[in-house]
């Protein structure tokens, strides 16, 4: 059942669930930060509307910088602003930033200890019709290897706002991962934000734990509900902070269940799956099944079609749970 401690959306399992794009939460948070923190500045590379910087730009024009189609310039300018005491949010699509920008981010932000927030929008295959060139499915892997980088991957629009506000409080580089399409609203304003992993779906004597990140937490919850109806109890854990890694909770939940499934709209290599496997290989070897992109690019299509074709949906998750329980 949904964990009552987290005050999640009670209408989550109704036939029509309310949806909204996570990037809207980013835009709302920027506006709020603009009001409350004079050091917050925003940069974009010709994507102010689609990455939801437009309202900030209108309200705080002197703190908004349009760099044109020049993503490397954007993040390096942000680094200069940061070492001068500003808190820059550099907003673009994840395929470009961090995709195109890895070395610039590495040198001018990570090595430089610059307090820059990198917002990577349109991450994952939910970018849909634009096709594989615009679907960042390796950004977590890239950013996870940079020392000192914090990584947030919120599960819905409300959590997206919370992680953006949280990012401004952190003194150091942060990567914010946002998908494009409208996705189910899982949490509520009352849901407490925590950098530790939160068990959104709990059960007595669970046989497996599903670690999920981003909007796929919804599909993991659907799977948990279906599994319960067919007599299999599992846990669903929302991993919205991918770094620093909450090793303690990962080990605790693996120990409690003896079987693990990871779920992400990202390559399994280097993503959440890789991350969980690294922790458990070191601390508590446990059977794991991975739901994610299996060393393949996706293609153009509607989000729902892609989620199904690339086996990220509730059916794929349910099957992964069944497989891992057999191995445990």
């Amino acid at each position: 059942m949904l964990n009552p401690n987290f005050k999640l959306n009670e209408k989550l399992f109704e036939e029509v669930v309310e949806t909204r794009a996570v990037r809207d939460g980013f835009g709302q948070a920027l506006l709020e930060l603009g009001e409350t923190n004079p050091n917050v500045v925003v940069l974009t590379a010709d994507l102010s509307e689609s990455t939801r910087c437009e309202q900030f730009a209108q309200k705080f024009p002197e703190r908004f910088f349009e760099v044109g189609v020049a993503e490397q310039n954007m993040v390096a300018i942000a680094a200069g602003l940061a070492v001068s005491g500003k808190i820059p949010f550099a907003s673009s699509y994840a395929v470009f930033s961090p995709g195109k920008n890895l070395e610039t981010i590495r040198t001018t932000i990570a090595c430089n200890g610059a307090n820059v927030k990198i917002a990577g929008h349109h991450a994952g295959i939910l970018t849909g019709p634009d096709g594989a060139t615009h679907q960042a499915t390796e950004d977590i892997a890239i950013m996870r290897t940079l020392p000192g980088m914090t990584i947030f991957s919120p599960c819905d629009v409300i959590e997206a706002k919370k992680v953006t506000l949280e990012a401004a409080k952190i003194d150091g580089p942060v990567y914010l991962r946002f998908s494009r399409a409208a996705t189910p609203i899982i949490t509520t304003n009352e849901t407490p934000f925590d950098k530790n992993i939160q068990t959104f779906w709990e059960a007595e004597s669970p046989k497996a734990v599903i670690f999920a990140t981003g909007y796929l937490v919804y599909y993991a919850l659907l799977a948990a509900k279906q599994l319960k109806e067919s007599g299999t109890q599992v846990l669903v854990a929302n991993v919205s902070t991918l770094k620093p890694v909450d090793e303690e909770t990962i080990v605790k939940l693996a120990q409690q269940t003896g079987a693990v499934v990871t779920v992400e709209d990202h390559q399994i290599a280097g993503g959440l799956g890789g991350l969980i496997a690294e922790v458990l290989a070191k601390k508590l070897p446990t059977p794991i099944e991975f739901v994610g992109l299996k060393d393949t690019f996706a293609e153009s299509g509607q989000p729902e079609e892609l989620i199904k074709k690339y086996q990220l949906d509730d059916k794929a998750i349910t099957n992964a749970v069944k497989r891992v329980i057999l191995r445990s």
């Binding site: 500045v41 760099v67 390096a76 200069g80 001068s84 040198t107 001018t108 200890g113």
Partner: protein, 285 residues
């Protein structure tokens, strides 16, 4: 800003530049790897900055109103380290730790390790962008400090450089001055053979910058160019500083080979003799 340079001060700066070159030779010999030609070629400009142009306080490297000097082509950091030590940021002895384990003097500048560095740099094409960020922050905070950024001619080949030039031109960042070390060499050969940059002046002018050209090994001419840059209010200024790579050591001057290598102990001895002879000559004048 008063940057007048009387004869005796000029002579003092020339002697300091000579001392800095000697320190560079000693450092590179000790380190066993590094970049000789660019470091020697830029000795005069770095000396002019640290001992005449910059508003700074070595005892308070984070002073908020200090001028910012960004080095984009981080590989010539030995000359910056030499001038930082000479002006009191850290003891001269520490120069011997360049490129060694546990040192603050990394092979390429690492901001968080050494107070007085404004950025981490080395990978080319990123320094002008970072300097733009620093100059924008000055405008937002209504600060009067000036931001100077030194870049190499080779790194004009990086796309990011032109992204930055475009942005600074559009935004009329008159509190930003770029100095391009025009020494005509890069690792694989002469710039005009590897990837021609000329007409460099016209190209940058077309990006809405004020462009000056100067002899970068002439301290007095360089200081004049800086004064000229400060007098321009409607756009950022670039000073294309024509320098002689390896300047001061005859067998290194204008030799592409010396871009990325260091002297043997025999060569270092020869270089020191030449530099000390030059020092004597400056003293006599």
């Amino acid at each position: 800003m008063n940057l007048e340079l009387p004869e005796d001060k000029l002579k003092d700066l020339e002697l300091k530049a000579n001392q800095a070159r000697q320190l560079v030779i000693e450092m590179l010999l000790e380190a066993g790897s590094g970049h000789s030609a660019g470091s020697l070629g830029m000795a005069d400009i770095f000396t002019a900055f640290y001992f005449h142009i910059l508003k700074h306080d070595p005892k308070d490297p984070n002073w908020v109103d200090r001028d910012r000097l960004i080095l984009s082509n981080g590989h010539i950091c030995p000359i910056r380290y030499a001038l930082m030590a000479m002006s009191g940021y850290f003891p001269i002895n520490e120069l011997k730790t360049l490129r060694k384990i546990d040192s603050r003097l990394q092979g390429h500048p690492y901001r968080t390790l050494l107070p007085g560095l404004e950025t981490t740099s080395g990978p080319l094409g990123e320094g002008i962008s970072q300097a733009i960020g620093i100059a924008l922050a000055a405008k937002l905070d209504r600060k009067n400090y000036h931001t100077y950024v030194i870049a190499s001619d080779g790194e004009m080949e990086e796309g990011n450089t032109w992204e930055a030039l475009m942005f600074a031109g559009k935004n009329r960042l008159n509190n930003l001055t770029l100095i391009i070390d025009r020494n005509n060499i890069q690792i694989d050969g002469f710039t005009e053979e590897v990837m021609p940059l000329e007409p460099l002046k016209n190209k940058i002018e077309a990006f809405n910058w004020h462009v000056l050209e100067v002899d970068g090994n002439n301290i007095s001419a360089f200081v004049d160019a800086i004064r000229n840059a400060h007098a321009v209010f409607e756009k950022p200024t670039v000073i294309i500083a024509n320098t002689i790579p390896g300047m001061g050591v005859s067998f290194m001057e204008n030799k592409v080979d010396w871009h990325g290598k260091v002297p043997s102990s025999e060569q270092a001895k020869k270089a020191m003799i030449e530099l000390k002879t030059l020092q004597g000559r400056i003293n006599k004048n």
